[in-house]
Amino acid sequence: MKELVWIFLGALVVNNFTLSYFLGLCPFFGVSGKLQTAFRLGLATTFVMVITAIAAWALNTFVLVQFPYLRLLSFIVVIASAVQFVEMVVKKASPALFAALGIFLPLITTNCAILGLALFQTSRGYGLLQGIVFALGAGGGFTLALALMASLREEAKLSDVPALARGTAFNLLLAGILAMAFMGFAGLGSS
């Protein structure tokens, strides 16, 4: 139980996927303009992560033992199908949410945080339960980083930023400061 808690916390804050592993930066900069969209995208990504973790575990245990060189190919195909599946379910179950997410839903396929999750899970040899907890932590961490960034940017819209720095450069500097704040978690749980 204790181990699971540390896996969760580790992925959530200590080794935050976005701010210390640089995974999922495209949506991190692309979709962090508004807090509400950012939060919803984070939740959808977390959901895909959990499905991917289960699928990656099943593949690793039953199929890839014989064909290790197919790992990357099969992971990417599984992720693409998972996203397609989620898209269909969301469309059927909640058309309102589907409309709100729009193009960001299919774009989850090329979010490197998802493939990164599957690869890390493999290299650390996590089992099914550990994998799911890891996915929840990583997804939560991604959502947290995205929401923090979105609130900062909403705040920054009202402040007096020099015209030269507006846009990507300013967002990158913001992210740098955010990453420094997250460095404060380093070492948590290692003792």
Binding site: G116, L119, A165, L173, G176
Partner: protein, 215 residues
């Protein structure tokens, strides 16, 4: 692949190659492929290896996609590109593991993550699928080398500031106090932010100079 038949054709191919190096540089101008750009540029040697691996994957995928372009149905083209890219990444992964095991270990999962580098997928969708093989390969090489150049800029600056060395060779002697944050994650964001600031400053000055001339 045929040699360019006329000077105009040769000039066009040259333009396809050169544009990625500076004017449409994938990192500094288009801001694509950010994840590997920031994750592996904590030292110059890692940046070099990552840039070379990405260039190799990009060139091979562009060649294959350009050759297959006509046969790929439009509905499944993205998935086809991803599978082509994943195949070449697997090849590069194994090759690097065989010849440079240390670098392979250092890059870790980020080598496999070349698959989801949006720069590569972007070139397949925007260029390789609509152009003949030679142009596609030249475009890929230009973009890849531009990517490598940007990575090397970031990696070298971060290594010099954060570790006082370049390619592992000590530069300043023991009296140098390294700026450790530069090799840690925040340094990546800050450094790229500063470089982009420099770029927009240059653009602004050039625009101002052009406006001055007009008057």
């Amino acid at each position: 692949m045929n040699a360019p038949s006329s000077p105009a054709e040769a000039a066009r191919l040259h333009a396809e190659f050169v544009k990625g190096l500076w004017r449409e540089n994938p990192v500094f101008v288009q801001v694509l492929g950010m994840c590997p750009t920031l994750a592996v540029t904590n030292s110059a040697i890692n940046a070099l290896a990552m840039g070379a691996a990405t260039t190799a994957v990009l060139a091979c995928s562009s060649l294959l996609v350009s050759l297959l372009g006509r046969f790929i149905p439009a509905q499944v083209r993205i998935s086809t590109y991803v599978i082509v890219i994943a195949t070449f990444v697997t090849v590069v992964d194994f090759v690097l593991q065989a010849i440079l095991p240390d670098v392979h270990k250092e890059l870790g999962a980020f080598l496999a993550l070349i698959v989801v580098n949006c720069l590569i997928l972007g070139r397949q969708e925007a260029f390789a699928s609509k152009n003949p093989p030679l142009a596609a390969v030249l475009d890929a090489l230009g973009m890849g080398l531009g990517f490598l150049f940007a990575l090397l800029c970031l990696g070298a600056t971060r290594e010099v500031l954060g570790n006082g060395s370049l390619f592992g060779i000590d530069l300043f002697g023991p009296a140098f106090e390294p700026w450790v944050v530069m090799v840690l994650p925040p340094g990546g964001f800050l450094m790229l932010g500063l470089i982009l600031l420099l770029f927009s400053w240059r653009l602004q000055r050039r625009a101002a100079a052009a406006a001055e001339e007009k008057r």
